[in-house]
Amino acid sequence: MNELAELVPYLGKHKPRAARALVILLALVAPLIAIMFGRTWVRVLDFALLYMMLALGLNLVVGYAGLLDLGYIAFYAVGAYTWAFLASPHFAEAFPALAAGLGAADGIHLPFWLVLPVGAALAAMAGIILGFPVLRLRGDYLAIVTLGFGEIVRIFMNNLNYPVNITNGPQGINLLDSMNLFGWDLARSIKLWGVKIDSLFFYYYFFLLCVVGSILFIQRLQISRIGRAWAAMRDDELAAKAIGINIRNMKLLAFALGATFGGVAGGLFGAFQGFVSPESFSLMESIAVLVMVVFGGMGNIAGAIAGALILTALPEILRHIALPIQQALFGQVLLDPEVLRMLLYSLAMILMMLLRPGGLIPAHARYSRPEFIAAGEARA
């Protein structure tokens, strides 16, 4: 978990081990601190972890493989809707006759461990479906076509309640099952030795586990053959092709893997939130995840983590600080929280590109650090 050390500004450079320990400690106690300010803040942290997964996944596509994807939220939607369809009463409401015939009169309620891989697989498939036609496109064209893909998915979510009710249209699907790990329902708060432990904590630690798993996976991926092939492809596609990298497979793999992260995060989101509707998967959300990656630093695990954390928490903090200030200064609320969030995101995007294109924590060229070079020489 070397990458994590970079999250701490000064310490990370000089005492990486201490920095890493600090990050891990903070991650473990964060919800305990947050609960002192109220339950909402634990919820914010839970969402920050979900966004971290999304940012890590998008970072694979944008940062490592260099493919600007503006429809990333579509995969999140696929994951969430898979959970919604396979773990809610919706099926019985939409197809009462069929459901009764199958003996599922109260809807399909498949277990968590079954639905999550299904959602991830469907998302990966969606990634490949998107990837195939856009193989030949680069740069800005790719961006627009992926944006179109995201919009198409959203239009279908909005309208697929007729003639066959699959998504329940703009109302979305309600009453999704909560997460159930081997008989332990994460949505239920537990009373332990007289202390009530909020369910939000369980979600927090479970999501944290998922994020840590993702980080470990991506870290290995980054230095693997695939990660290096992506970097080569991103820096010069023609040269990469010339040294024998299969560009087609690498691009498809980037889309599919990125989408898998989106699908898993989507499933977690559906179970956590309890309902899904097309509103949660608008273009604004795709852009929000992209801003997190760009703001934090493209092609960099620590960047994605920092970007997701800061850009999820900051709008909430602003909501609590800026509103009373406006109230006191002008006697009314001029900029509501949603406007503040959009303002923050768009300015973050423009200013970052103009002033610090590498992001908050710029990705450094691999092997440029002394310890890497030394290790390389020793091996040679």
Binding site: D140, V145, N159, L347, L354
Partner: protein, 310 residues
């Protein structure tokens, strides 16, 4: 048959708006190789600033003739949009010329959302009714086919503007400088062309067209709001790609073709898909066309291959 004719007419009206906006995309792309994502937002600002002008004028002098009101709206909208476009080129895009390829595009997305947010602050979140100053009572030139005066004027005005733009680009000194800059910045500047000025002018010209398009769009549908620029912007971009981006004639052709496909497609999609899809899927056509053109004919209908350029 009447349905088909009717849909073709509707397509022509929407298509000419797309064509006007597409010209802005294609000019900027031709010169800078940049997809100016925020171009659709310029259209929105045109419509909303015209709306503010018109409604405040109505408040002051309620019995001005409608055409005068519309002219006043345009007279405010056009300079406003030109200023917005000038500022975004000057403050954001100019500093990113020659930056790595993703940077200008990400900035453009940021500018687009920034403009939307600012519009939300200024004009609020609500839908505003746009005064329909040109009559919308439909005429019936053929039995069962309707067209309103506002639609007729949309077609006429856009034809006029397109003609003016093409003349400007092909016949004037400024147009020659623009074409030279599009060809090669450095050589153009060696020949005494002030490249920075030409690029700024290109943005400003495109914005003026978008302002008019915004007013027409809002007059046709009778509503305006802060996010109204997004879809037309995206579709106009599709139109520019469909025609062959960087090519003026292509942008116009692409706009009209896209408008027609959309209108006719929306009219018949239910029959074609046996009732599975209905006209609420209208917006999909543009995206499918965009994808298909880029994959099968990246040069567009009339143009050079550019999809590798990034």
């Amino acid at each position: 048959m009447e349905t088909l004719l009717q849909q073709i007419l509707n397509g022509l009206v929407v298509g000419s708006v797309y064509a006007l906006v597409a010209l802005g995309y294609t000019m900027v792309y031709g010169i800078l190789g940049l997809i100016n994502f925020a171009h659709g937002e310029v259209l929105m600002i045109g419509a909303l600033s015209a709306l503010t002008t018109i409604s405040s004028l109505i408040g002051v002098a309620p019995d001005l003739p409608p055409l005068l009101l519309l002219a006043a709206g345009l007279l405010v909208a056009i300079p406003t949009c030109m200023t917005v476009a000038f500022l975004m080129e000057r403050l954001a895009y100019r500093r990113l010329r020659g930056a790595p390829r993703l940077a200008p595009l990400i900035t453009a997305i940021g500018v687009s959302f920034l403009l939307q947010t600012l519009a939300m602050i200024v004009w609020g979140r609500n839908y505003h009714t746009f005064p329909q100053l040109i009559s919308t009572t439909p005429l019936q030139p053929i039995d069962g086919v309707f067209i309103s005066p506002v639609q007729i004027s949309i077609i006429l005005v856009s034809a006029l503007l397109m003609f003016a733009l093409v003349t400007l680009v092909n016949r004037t000194r400024l147009g020659r400088a623009m074409r030279a800059t599009a060809e090669n910045h450095r050589v153009a500047s060696l020949m005494g062309v002030d490249v920075n000025r030409i690029i700024a002018l290109t943005f400003v010209l495109g914005a003026a067209l978008a302002a008019v398009a915004g007013v027409m769009f809002a007059s046709n549908y009778g509503i305006a709001h802060y996010a109204m620029g997004f879809m037309p912007g995206l579709k106009a971009f599709t139109a520019a790609v469909l025609g062959g981006i960087g090519n003026l004639a292509g942008a116009m052709l692409g706009g009209i073709v896209l408008g027609l496909v959309e209108a006719v497609g929306a009219g018949y999609i239910e029959d074609f898909t046996f009732g599975f899809l209905n006209s609420s899927y209208q917006d999909i056509f543009a995206f499918v066309i965009l994808g298909a053109v880029l994959i099968f004919r990246p040069t567009g209908l009339l143009g050079e291959r550019v999809s590798d350029r990034a």
